[in-house]
């Protein structure tokens, strides 16, 4: 079966004078219908990677294959057709005078018939809970609302691959949960592939697999539970330390005997209660 994304020996340098490669000989594969989170601290090369996959940066060294199509100058648009990308700062991708115009833009570009377009725009706005703002001006929305509208514009197009580049960073915690739930539901319906670049522990936990990037290289990969085991070292990897891991470390340091594997909230609560009962 065709893979959603195959990256082979990718290297990228921003300029001749740059001291080092932003991406250094990176290879990985993302399966169809998979949700992969990419984590790494600021400047680790995550966004460069996302832009490379979407053909927003020139391909210098290595191969990128999206849904079986090898990225080249000739079929750039064919590749971009597979991918919907939401950026961190939505101001950079607004074009419409109103929210609904903006969401419709991608569909107009693809020549979707008007009746279907209206219906898809409504559906997309409803999914991100922004229907009430359909006729408002995108510029006057809050940061989190803008991120919802940007996502709606991509949802309306229904790409096979969704790339989120810190696309939930401006949302409040509840808003982030809502948006993640929207993506999860959309993924269940359409089997799209999700690639999310994130610092957020909840977003990373939603993934099937996490790739850890540092210095332009792929350093680690594993399921969320495997990666979360790194505890306080996660902060160096650009991810928040899960709260339970921090508390467990504090308690261990103070002399409480706790197991070393990652415990989620209810597991830690039960473990602590067992200890308390043995007092």
């Amino acid at each position: 079966m065709t893979k959603a994304i195959e990256v082979q020996n990718l290297s990228f340098r921003y300029s001749e004078e740059a001291k080092r490669n932003a991406i250094q000989d990176m290879s990985f594969t993302i399966e169809n219908d998979e949700w992969v989170a990419i984590i790494g601290h600021n400047g680790s090369g995550k966004s460069t990677l996302a832009k490379s996959i979407d053909g927003l940066l020139p391909l210098e060294k290595g191969t990128i294959i999206v849904n079986g199509i090898e990225l080249s100058e000739a079929n750039l648009w064919q590749v971009r057709d597979q991918i919907g990308m939401v950026f961190q700062n939505p101001d950079n991708q607004f074009v419409g005078a109103t929210v609904e115009d903006d969401v419709a833009f991608g569909l107009e570009n693809r020549g979707v018939p008007r009746a279907e377009m209206v219906q898809r725009v409504q559906d997309a706005l409803q999914r991100v809970n922004m229907t009430a703002f359909a006729t408002r001006e995108p510029a006057h929305l809050s940061g989190g609302q803008k991120q919802r509208v940007a996502l709606a514009g991509i949802i309306a197009v229904r790409p096979q691959i969704l790339i989120l580049d810190e696309a939930t960073s401006m949302l409040d915690p509840k808003g982030r949960q809502d948006v993640l739930a929207t993506i999860r539901q959309l993924k269940a319906e359409t089997h799209m592939t999700v690639l999310s670049i994130t610092h957020d522990i909840d977003e990373a936990a939603s993934a099937d697999r996490i790739l850890v990037i540092d210095d332009g290289q792929l350093k680690q990969q594993g399921t969320p539970a495997e990666i979360f085991r790194y505890g306080s070292r996660l902060i160096k990897m650009g991810l928040d330390v899960p709260y339970t891991a921090k508390v467990a470390e504090d308690l261990s340091t103070a002399g409480v005997a706790l197991p070393s594997q990652f415990l989620d909230e209810s597991e830690l609560a039960q473990t602590l209660w067992t200890l308390h009962s043995q007092m």
Binding site: H41, Q145, D172, T253, A254, A269, H276
Partner: protein, 291 residues
């Protein structure tokens, strides 16, 4: 210097088809020397409220008292400079406002614009670069060659170079990685404690509210619906969930532990408070493994 809102309304793009309510009947005092956190759902009016703190927006009804100046709907846009100097504003993604050739020139721009000599402004810029923790080797670099976190420090240093009494921060850590976020919050805490700045912080991070703020303002639909200390605000988890706001991770986990059978009085707000309250319930006194 206090800032007091009295019956403040603000309507966006009044008399146009885009008209919308930004603020409704705000009554609020922010005391000089305080660390105030403003929380609220996306679109609740937090950023609109902030822009009234230095008269970037003027109320469409009511008054905003900023020190000895009273801002009304009729206030003239002239002579607002002293307010802008006293109330330093750091917007979302402030690094997008950088423009100078070097880090120091960018930091020095504000004071020079306010009439300070080039030499003095340069000296001030060096002090501020040091204060926000920009390493010396970056000072003569282009700000655009720096990392996102460092660019943000440059922008904040530029605001601090005006020597404001207030530092107003609109989601200052958004977009930074967790380490960068932590360093940023430590910086503001230092400026508050050591340099006596009044901090007004808009944030979605309830942990930051619990760790740093002494006053919390909760907004919804353009109105202030509650004010109080973090302990008062976070005491009722259900109310915050109903308002689509989170609670600090500590408070949430303490509730989970309470259901398991642990006891907390009062409910801890920070990680340190939680661990301190837990240890006596886990280790026999004097018999701890670390003793």
């Amino acid at each position: 210097m206090d800032i007091t809102f009295t019956n403040v309304d603000y309507t966006y793009q009044a008399n146009t088809p885009f008209q919308g309510v930004g603020l409704r009947d705000i009554n609020l005092t922010i005391h000089g020397g305080s660390y105030t956190a403003i929380i609220g759902h996306t679109g609740s009016g937090k950023s609109t409220l902030l822009q009234h703190l230095n008269a970037l927006l003027k109320p469409t009804a009511g008054t905003v008292q900023i020190g000895d100046r009273t801002i009304t709907p009729a206030t003239n846009n002239k002579n607002l400079k002293p307010i802008r100097q006293k109330v330093g504003m750091v917007f979302q993604f402030p690094e997008s406002q950088l423009f100078e050739e070097t880090v120091l020139k960018d930091i020095a721009f504000g004071p020079q614009n306010f009439g300070m000599s080039a030499d003095k402004a340069h000296q001030r810029a060096e002090e501020m670069a040091e204060l926000v923790g920009l390493p010396k080797e970056t000072w003569e670099q282009s700000p655009f060659d720096l990392s996102g976190g460092q660019m943000r420090r440059v922008a904040i240093a530029g605001v601090l170079a005006m020597q404001p009494e207030y530092l107003v921060l609109d989601e200052p850590s958004a977009g930074l990685d967790p380490l960068g976020r932590q360093e940023m919050m430590d910086l503001f805490n230092k400026l508050h404690r050591e340099n006596g700045l009044t901090i007004v912080l808009v944030t979605h991070q309830m942990d930051d509210v619990a760790n740093y703020a002494d006053q919390v303002v909760v907004m919804e639909h353009g109105q202030v619906i509650r004010t109080g200390t973090p302990r008062e605000i976070f005491a009722n988890e259900q109310w915050l969930v109903d308002k689509q706001l989170g609670v600090p991770k500590t408070t949430h986990f303490a509730e989970v532990l309470k259901q398991q059978g642990f006891q907390f009085e009062p409910l801890p707000l920070t990680e340190d408070e939680l661990v301190t309250a837990l240890l006596p319930q886990l280790l026999r006194q004097g018999g701890a493994a670390n003793e």
